[in-house]
Symmetry: C2
Subunit: 112 residues, 2 copies
DNA sequence: AATATTGTTCGTAGTTTTGCGAACAACAAA
DNA sequence: TTTGTTGTTCGCAAAACTACGAACAATATT
């Protein structure tokens, strides 16, 4: 019964979790880093960077696209991928807000 | 054959993905936010915040603990949870570095 | 028209995640 | 000693995730 009750969480919590989930696999982090360093590139360039089959790479790209973190545009016979900058900035802000919320009370590093 | 080839990713990529994965569920984001706002609290306080069964809450707490994001200490008959501040700072830095890497080339918001 | 290139989609397999209720363990209180 | 409180663990079920090879689609090239 996974994800049945998502409606009960705040939209901002949902959005942050969505971005985090998309970033929750090393292959997808590697893809994002690669795209950030290149600004734009073809599928084959991404595929060459990763130790997994192209079918799997394609799936990870789909997930990143669904989460709104990247764009893909067809330039036959190839596909050009790039960062969805608008949403990456959105993610950056959500993570930034989340972590900043914790920092004020973090002068002392001891707890329970 | 999930996670077979993780050994082929950089340690920093792995770490970031690990933290992101732990944050990749709205219930866990809600838990972290709650703990950040309270500094420390008992299981029951967390459980009351969430629309899921206590067994499930306990599982999410386990995952956050395994990822190193929180601590739990037994104070019979209750359990006190708090943020693992050291690792939260670590996560903050990893995410910060990741997002900062993308920002320089983000003057223009158009791409492929 | 036949061939080559590029990447997606399909079908399949095994693992992990999410969720719940019930049972349990540990301690406190009556 | 019996009862109550607190939270974990167990056992199960459904869904999602990760991965692969094979087949396919779309476009160039010969």
């Amino acid at each position: 019964m996974a994800y049945t009750k998502n409606i009960d969480y705040e939209p901002e919590v949902m959005e942050l979790a969505r971005f985090a989930k998309a970033m929750g696999h090393p292959a997808r982090i590697a893809i994002l880093k690669h795209l950030l360093s290149l600004d734009t590139c073809f599928f084959s360039s991404i595929n060459d960077e990763l130790p997994i089959a192209k079918a799997t790479v394609s799936q990870h790209l789909s997930e990143l696209k669904d989460a709104g973190l990247i764009h893909g545009s067809i330039e036959p016979p190839r596909v050009n991928y790039c960062i969805n900058k608008e949403n990456l900035v959105k993610a950056k802000k959500l993570f930034g807000k989340f972590f900043k919320a914790g920092m004020p009370g973090m002068k002392d590093f001891d707890c329970c």
